[in-house]
Amino acid sequence: MFEPVLLKNLDRPDAHRLAAYEATGGYRGLARALKEHTPDEVIGIVKAANLRGRGGAGFPTGMKWGFVPKAPGRPKYLCCNADEGEPGTFKDRIIMERDPHQLIEGMAISAYAIGAATAYVYIRGEYVKAIRTLGAAIGEARDKGYLGQNILGSGFDFEMHIHEGAGAYICGEETAMLDSLEGKRAQPRLKPPFPAVEGLYASPTVVNNVETLACVPHILTRGDDWFRDIGPEKSPGPKLYCLSGQVRKPGLYELPMGISLGELVEEHAGGPLSGRRIKAVIPGGVSAPVIPAEGLGVAMDFDSLAAAGSMLGSAGVIVIDDSTCMVKVATRIIEFFHHESCGKCTPCREGLNWVVKVLRRIEAGRGAPDDLDQLRDLCKGIFGNTFCALGDGAAMGLRAALEHYGDEFAAHIDRQKCPFH
C-alpha cells in the first residue's frame, strides 16, 4: 500500500507552519545532510535515488547537480522553477500553499550540495496565496536558523528569495527564466552553455522544479533505496498527478510513478461524468500529445509515455469525453502556444499564427479540402526547427490530434460545420 510522501501533511490545517512540519520529521533531512555528509555525498545519494526532474523533461537531478563546477570563484546559484504555466498543472501551487517547508528544506539541501549561497524561487505572479505562504515560511525558517548564516552550526550560509513572475508561460523554460531574473524580456538562450556551467549572471546555476526539490528531504531522511523502490526502476519515486477536465473527481493525487493512466483516471479520479465515455486523455499538460481511450493502459512514467509517443511532462492529466470536439481542443491548445510564443524564432512565431488561422476556419465550418495536408506540412516545418521546446510541443500535439482524430477534422471540412454543435 502506497503511503503519500509529498502530500502526507495536506489534511492538517496548519501544515504550512514550521511547527507542524518539524513535528512530522521536517528539517531532519537538512540536519543529516549538513552533519553527516559532504556536498559530494549528497549529490551521490540523489543520483543513487535516481530522482528525475518533475518539471517536464525528466532529467536526472543528481547528474545535473554534478555538472556544476567545483572550483571556487564565481558564486553559484540555485533557481526553483515555480512558474507552473503548463495548462492542466497545479501541483507546485498546492505544495507551496499547503506544505512549503518541504520546498525550503529541499532547496537548502540542494544549495549545500552544489555550493550555492543564494537561491531564487521564480513563482508566477498569479499565485498570490503561494507567494504569501512561502514568504511567511521562509521567514519562519530564517528565524529558526534553517536559513541564513552558519545553518545548524555547520558553517553553511544560505539565503533564498522569491521572484514574482508577471504572466508569461515562456518564463517556465529554464533559460528564459534566467533572462527574466536578470531583468530582461524572457526569451530562451542558446544551449550550450548549459545553466549548470553558465546560468544566472553567467554563473553556474541549477534550475529545478518545485516537486523535484520537495522530494529531496525525503530522500535524505529515508534513503535512496527507499525512493528507488517506489515505481519503475528507471523512473522511480512518488509522483503528483493533476487531474482535471471531464472527470468525476478532479484534484491532486499522489501515487507511485508508473501507475497506469487508466487506473488513475477510472479508479482514483472516478472515471467519466455520468452518461459519458472517455474519448481521450492528455497525460502531461497540453505540450504532451493526446492519448486516445484505447491507449489508457500506458504507465505514467517518463520512459513508458515517451515510448507511447507522448510524454509525462508536468503530469497535468486532462480528461476529455465524447461530448467534446477535438478540433476545438486542438485549436484552443494552438491558440495558447501562439499567444505564449516569445517571438524569437520564425517557425514558432509565424508558423503557429498560420496554424491557428487554418484550425479556426476548419472549426468554423469553412475548411478547405487541402487544409489537413497544409496542417501536416506546417507541423513538419515547425517541429525540430524552433529555438526552444515550445514550438516542438505545439507541433507534436497537433500531429497526434491529426493522427488519432483525423476523421473528426475531415468531417468538419466535408460537412462545412462542426459536428458537435
Binding site: 507552473e84 498543472t89 497545479f90 531583468g183 477536465g245 478532479p250 484534484g251 486532462i318 505564449e340
Partner: protein, 170 residues
Amino acid sequence: MSPPSDMRAEIEAAAARYPDRRSAIMPALLIAQRLHGHLPGQVLEEVADILGVERIWVYELATFYTLFHTEPVGRYHLQLCDNVSCMLCGSEALLAHIETVLGIGKGETTADGLFTLSTVECLGACEMAPVMQVGDDYHGALDIARLDALLTRLRAEAGAAAGATEMAGE
C-alpha cells in the same frame, strides 16, 4: 501626482535581493502597479530613475509581461481562464454570461469603471475549473449562479467602500 513616498523604499528593499539592479525592474514594476493601479509612462520613468537603469529596459518589460498594465483597468479585473480544462468545464458559457450582464466584451471596462473583463491562459487551478481570478483571489467551481453572486458581492463591496469614503469626506 507625486509617487507615494514608500515606493522608493519598497523598490530599494527589492533591489537589495539581487547583485544587479536590473533584476529589480520586475519587482519594482509590481510594486509601482500595486500603488498606482497601472503603469503610465511617467511611473515607468520614475521606476527607471529610482533603480538608475535605462528607461528602455523598463519599457520593454512593462510591455512584455501580461500582468503589467500600461492602461488603466477597472476596480475589479475579471480574469476568466479559457484554457482547455476550464473550457471543458464550461468557461465559454460563463464568458457569454458576463458579456451579457455587464454589457462589455473581452478587454473592455464598464462605464462605471468597476469591471474590466479579460480571458486568461491557465491559472494553474484546474482542479476547481472553471476558474476566474479577481484581484488576488481565485474563484473556482463557477457556474452561472455563483458568478452572479460574486458580481453582486463585488458591487456591494465597491458601494460600501464608496459610502465609507463619502462619510469620511463629510
